[in-house]
Amino acid sequence: MLASLHSANTSQAPVAHFSSEHSCLSIDHFSLAYAGKEALRELTLSVPRHRVTAFIGPSGCGKSTLLRAINRLHDLNESVTHSGQITLEGQDIHDPQMNVTELRRRVGMVFQTPNPFPMSIYENVAFGLRLQQRMPKRKRDDIIEWALTSAALWDEVKDRLHRSAWQLSGGQQQRLVIARTLAVQPDVLLLDEPASALDPISTLKIEELIRNLKSELTLILVTHNMQQAARVSDYTAFLHQGELVEYGPTDQVFTNPRLQRTENYITGRIT
C-alpha cells in the first residue's frame, strides 16, 4: 500500500506517501498562523483511507491545530490566516464552492473533553440528523440505534435513551459523542486526544472502538500518549514546532525511527 518510503536523507523529512487511490486526505504545503504567530509550517502529508493515522508530538507542536484545520474549525476564529492546500477526496476544502457544513458532516470531530449537549441521549445522537433533511421517525430511530451500537454504547443506554446525557460517566459520554458523530455517516473521523480525560478502562474501550471503526472510516488521532499511538495507529506522524519531522508506518517509527529527533521524543529524552 505504501507507495514509497524515503530513506534517511538529511535534506528531506522521511515522509510516507500514498497514491491517490489509497489516500483520502492530502495536505500540501499547508501553513497556518494565529494572529501572525506561525503555528504550522509547510506541512505536506497524505492520509491513507481506512487506516488510523496518529499525530504525535510535544505540547504546542501544532497537532491539534492541524486537526482543526481539516474540518475548518478555524473559520470560527477571525485572527487565523493560512496558506497551502488541504484536499479531501480530491476536493480542495477551502474552495469557495465547497459547502462548509457539508464538509463538517463528512469530517467528524471528537474533542478532548466529552461535550455532549444538555439534552437526552437520543436527542444528542439525533442532533446531526435533524440538521439534515427531515426523515421519518423510524428511520431516525434505526440510525440512532446503529450509531450507538457502532460506538459500543447501545447496550448500556438502550433503556434510558430519554434521560439526560450529562448523567453518563466520562467514558460513556465520550462514546456518545462518537455515536453522535457517526450518525451523520462521515468519511473521516478526527479524534483530538479522545481518551486523555478518561480512566484507563474507558481509554481501552475507546481504543478498541477506534480499531473497529477503521473498516468504515478513515481515522486521524491526535494523542500525547505515545503508547496509545503505538497501540492503535497504523501510521504515525511526528510533529515538532509546527513542522512535520517524520511520518511512516507505526511499527517502524516506534522500533527504528529515522531521525534522532523522533527517537528522542519517543524514548523520552531531553530534546
Partner: protein
Amino acid sequence: MDITSDSHSQHISRQFNQELEELKTHLMAMGGLVEKQVQDAVFALLEGDTRLAEQVRDNDRQVNDLQLQIDDECTRVLARRQPAASDLRLVLAVIRATSDLERIGDEASKIARNALLLSESSSTIRGLVEVRHISEHVRKMLRDALTAFARFDTDLAMQVVREDELVDDEYSSAMRSLMTFMMEDSRSITSVLSIMWVLRALERVGDHADNLAEYVVYLVKGLDIRHSDTDELEPQVPKKS
C-alpha cells in the same frame, strides 16, 4: 540513524537511565566472567590443570545466576517502562545476549569436563595445537563482540561476523586432520574424541560470539541480520565514514 553508546543516558527519567546503564554493566560483567571461563577451561586443558578445570565447572553456577538476574531486570524494564525504539532494541539485545553468553558458559564447562577426562590419559594428546589456535581465535572474537557491544561499534561487530567464517573453516580442517589421526591410531580414539568435543565447543563459542555481534548491529542500526549471508550484509551495514 545510528545510536551511540551514551544515548541511553539522556532520558528525562534519571531512574530509567540508571536501569539501562545497570543492564549494560551487568551484561558486561557476565561477558567478562564467561570470557574468563573459556580462557581458564582452555588453559586447564592445555596444561592439564585439574583444579582449574574443577573451578570452571563450579563457576558455571555463577554464570547461570547472572543470566537469571539480567533476564529478570530486563523483564522489569519491559513491564514498567514500555521502552520504544533504541531502548526497546537494547533490552531485546541484552535478553538475547544473556542467552548466548550462558551457552558459552556451558561450552566452557564442557571443555573443562573434557580437560578432566584428558588429564587421566597418560599418552600424548594430539590436536592440542589446533585447540590452542582455534581457542585464541574465538576468544578474540568473543572479546571483540563484547567490546563492540560496550562501544556500540558496528564496524568491529561486522569484523566479528566475518571472522566466524574463518573459524568455521579452521574447525573443518582441524576435524579432518583429527579424523585421520583416529583412523591411523586406534588407541588414540578416546582422547581424540575428547579433543573433537573441545573443538566443537570452541566452534560453538565462535557462533555465539557471532550472534552477539549481530545483536550489536540490531541494537545500533535497527537491522536484524541474523540468518543473512555476509555478502548481502555489506551494503546494508555501511562502514562509518
